[in-house]
């Protein structure tokens, strides 16, 4: 067992591209689920429309990169409105079922042969990220900072990504101590009380859904740019579930919850993978293969989510009293 290697790869993963994607996705989800109490189980769909909005504009239509970013954000807002109109008047578990269904509809449509010319079928789309990497001021090469080892492209993604995380975190911090944030939290606690104060609950929920969706949109941009590709099956329902795990580990309804959750989750996810892989390869564990070792991680994520929800639904930073959500 090479513990030095295990430590450096896990630390690198903790700040890597997937950590950024989880973090931005969880910031968006935090606005919807943590502060407003909306059970959005279609966060993957928001990542998908943003990534595909960008990729389709640049690759399929041959237009400008920045126009692609605008298209991606506009598509996210449209998706939030379409999802919100039928569901925001319904009870929480209906919203969950509709959003999860919408995400699946979107994924099946994106990967269908019927739209292969536009969305690239199950292969997805590539070659839309040149403009992003041209802005990279770092000269080519590998750079190590302590345990973090990446090349110039990945460092560029990491710098841009964590800057976006900082901007979004500041935004959430400012919004949630404003009157707007108090109304959102009021809706989560008691919708009728907020309504009796003359607030339009429906419109506030819609704003929360749109704003959280935009957080997801930036996660979608970073995922697409980090991999220089979009593929439909990257946006399966499991992605939404992982974002939930990240948010719940860190603590829902807390400004720094998504950041802490993303760092810890990405570290552990990589750590378990490398440890199990080395244990299998060095013969310490003989009853599983290394493919099975990678699959065990997702079993652990599932069991971890169960244990968290049962024993510490407030996560590391949260306040238990704030999260007594109930649907009935």
């Amino acid at each position: 067992m090479d513990w030095g290697f295990i430590f450096t790869t896990s630390m690198s993963a903790a700040i890597g591209i997937s950590a950024i994607v989880f973090c931005l996705g969880a910031i968006g989800l935090n606005i919807q689920f943590g502060y407003t109490g909306l059970l959005n189980f279609g966060q993957a769909a928001f990542l998908a429309v943003a990534g595909y909005g960008l990729a389709t504009t640049v690759t399929t239509l041959g237009l400008n990169f920045w126009l692609g970013i605008v298209v991606g954000m506009a598509a996210t807002v449209v998706l939030a409105v379409i999802l919100g109109i039928p569901t925001l008047r319904l009870r929480a578990d209906y919203l969950a079922i509709v959003t999860i269904a919408a995400a699946e509809i979107l994924r099946l449509t994106l990967r269908s042969v019927a739209f292969k010319d536009t969305f690239g079928g199950s292969d997805g789309l590539q070659q839309f990220s040149d403009a992003f990497y041209k802005l990279n001021p770092i000269s080519p090469g590998a750079y190590d900072f302590g345990p973090f080892k990446y090349n110039e492209k990945s460092w560029w993604v990491i710098i841009v990504g964590w800057s976006l995380v900082a901007v979004w975190t500041l935004l959430v911090f400012l919004l949630m101590r404003s009157p707007f944030g108090r109304v959102l939290r009021g809706i989560r606690e008691d919708e009728d009380a907020v309504r009796s104060l003359g607030k339009n609950v429906y419109w506030y929920k819609m704003q929360a859904l749109i704003l959280g969706g935009l957080g997801g949109a930036f996660a979608g941009f970073m995922l697409a740019l980090g991999q220089s590709a979009v593929s439909p099956d990257a946006y399966a329902t499991n992605l939404t579930f992982l974002i939930y795990v990240v948010l719940i580990i860190g603590g829902a309804a807390r400004v720094f919850g998504p950041i802490l959750g993303a760092l810890i989750f990405s570290f552990l996810f990589q750590f378990v993978d490398v440890v199990l892989d080395q244990a299998v390869n060095t013969g310490l564990i003989t009853f599983i293969t290394s493919t099975q070792a990678a699959q065990i991680r997702l079993v652990m994520v599932g069991v971890g989510l169960m244990l968290l929800m049962i024993y510490r639904p407030q996560g590391i930073l949260g306040d238990r009293k704030e999260l007594q959500l109930d649907a009935r």
């Binding site: 269904a101 919408a102 019927a114 499991n238 989510l305 929800m309 009935r328």
Partner: protein, 424 residues
């Protein structure tokens, strides 16, 4: 107040996963002794064995071996290890009058330690020349069949929701559980599919009992919120599906019996005997479940608990016992649905996960919490999915069903048979 320690919860989860593991470990023995093999049974349209046909299995690494089908039509080739193989049927050795298979050679992969079953479809009927009405008739029957599969799972999901308020995202995994345990009884232990299915359905019922006893009841006693329980069920589904993947592998596998049956034609509709029998069984079982809900004391108690648990408890109904019966029977029905689904599309670790949203669509369409609504919703969704392929590409058929669910929620959120008060 029930004391509920961390170790106990872990023990329960491990026990739940272990229940499946035991089946796997017990049954893995004979399979790994056989090693990797590719095998199958050749039958013609009438179901009679086809004897004396040479089948050659080869791979890129230069391996090549052949087998001749015996008096039962069975053939088997031992292969050196897991990997991709090409299976070629020598068409010259087919008896006169037998139509060659449409796909030949078949490319397949061998999994570590288990035999792989390959079926050459001999004399497959051409269906391209059907008229639109003939196709509509055929699709309606297939839709009815799929609707019955959905109904078997949906009734349990809806009753569990009705009596406990839990939106169970792990219900699809109960279907997979029934299908996989039936597969182990059938293929690894060599029990005929009918007996294996009975055992598989019983195992699924036991699984339902274990879930309620070990997980959901303690959580209810603990006062865990419904949303929290829903997220727990998502974690449970994720853990279960990946446990199936580890134990069962990523490939789709058929049952050993009745795999390639010839269709019997009724006017424009062609149905295999196994389809007919399983549809009749499903319809009879659903009818029994419906009658039990309407006529028996337990059924009345179930409906009372679904209406108002507190009032039911105060009028002397043992609510926990009712919920337990709902869990056991709901899981057994879902297990049967899984077996029926696997008979048409083979057993895979994701089959339940992929069906879950359609079950939700069915339950939402019929009205969340009502058993008869779930039944009606399932049949509508099943027919809709199949008939929509008349106009749209089959790869998008589930999209149509999910869209209809969303539209129904906009127009009539309580569903076809639901009551308005259930929607907040």
């Amino acid at each position: 107040m029930v004391h509920w320690s961390v170790t106990r919860v872990i023990a329960v989860i491990v026990a739940a996963l272990g229940l499946l593991g035991t089946v796997a470990v017990v049954s893995a023995g004979p399979a790994s002794a056989e090693g990797e093999a590719i095998q199958g049974t050749l039958r013609d349209l009438a179901g009679a064995p086809v004897v004396g046909v040479t089948i050659t299995v080869s791979n890129d690494g230069g391996f090549s071996d052949s087998s001749v089908s015996d008096a039962e039509g069975a053939w088997a080739v031992e292969v050196p290890g897991p990997g991709a193989y090409s299976v070629l049927l020598d068409e010259d050795t087919l008896p006169d009058g037998t139509t060659p298979p449409t796909v030949n050679p078949i490319t397949t992969s061998a999994d570590p330690g288990t035999p792989r079953f390959i079926n050459f479809r001999l004399g497959e009927r051409e269906r391209n020349v059907q008229s639109r009405w003939d196709r509509a008739a055929q699709l309606s029957v297939e839709g009815l069949r799929f609707g019955l599969v959905l109904a078997l799972a949906a009734v349990g999901l809806s009753l569990i929701y009705g009596t406990t308020g839990l939106t169970n995202f792990a219900h699809g995994e109960i279907m997979t559980f029934g299908a996989i345990s039936t597969w182990f009884f059938n293929v690894n232990l060599g029990i005929n599919l009918i007996g294996a299915a009975v055992l598989g359905v019983i195992t699924a019922g036991v699984f339902g009992w274990a879930q309620e006893r070990g997980l959901w009841r303690p959580l209810r006693k603990r006062g865990t919120g419904l949303i929290a329980m829903m997220i727990v069920s998502i974690g449970f589904a994720l853990a279960l599906a990946n446990t199936y993947l580890i134990i069962f592998g990523g490939a789709s596998r058929p049952y050993a019996d009745y795999d390639s049956q010839a269709g019997i034609e009724f006017g424009p509709v062609s149905l295999t005997p196994k389809d007919m029998i399983s549809m009749v069984i499903a319809a009879v079982i659903l009818a029994i479940a419906g009658l039990a809900l309407l006529k028996t004391r337990m059924g009345k108690a179930t409906r009372a608990v679904a209406d108002n648990p507190a009032l039911a408890a105060s009028s002397g109904i043992d609510v926990d016992r009712v919920i337990m019966v709902v869990w056991i029977s709901g899981a057994a029905l879902a297990g049967l649905g899984g077996v029926m689904l696997a008979m048409t599309q083979q057993v895979s670790y994701l089959m339940g996960t992929q069906t879950l949203l359609l079950i939700f669509a069915a339950v939402t369409l019929g009205g969340l919490g009502t058993a008869f609504g779930a039944l009606v919703g399932s049949l509508v969704v099943g027919m809709l999915i199949q008939l929509s392929t008349l106009w749209i590409n089959p790869e998008l058929k589930n999209v149509g069903a999910l869209l209809v669910m969303i539209i129904v929620l906009m127009v009539r959120p309580q569903g076809i048979l639901g009551r308005r008060s259930r929607v907040g």
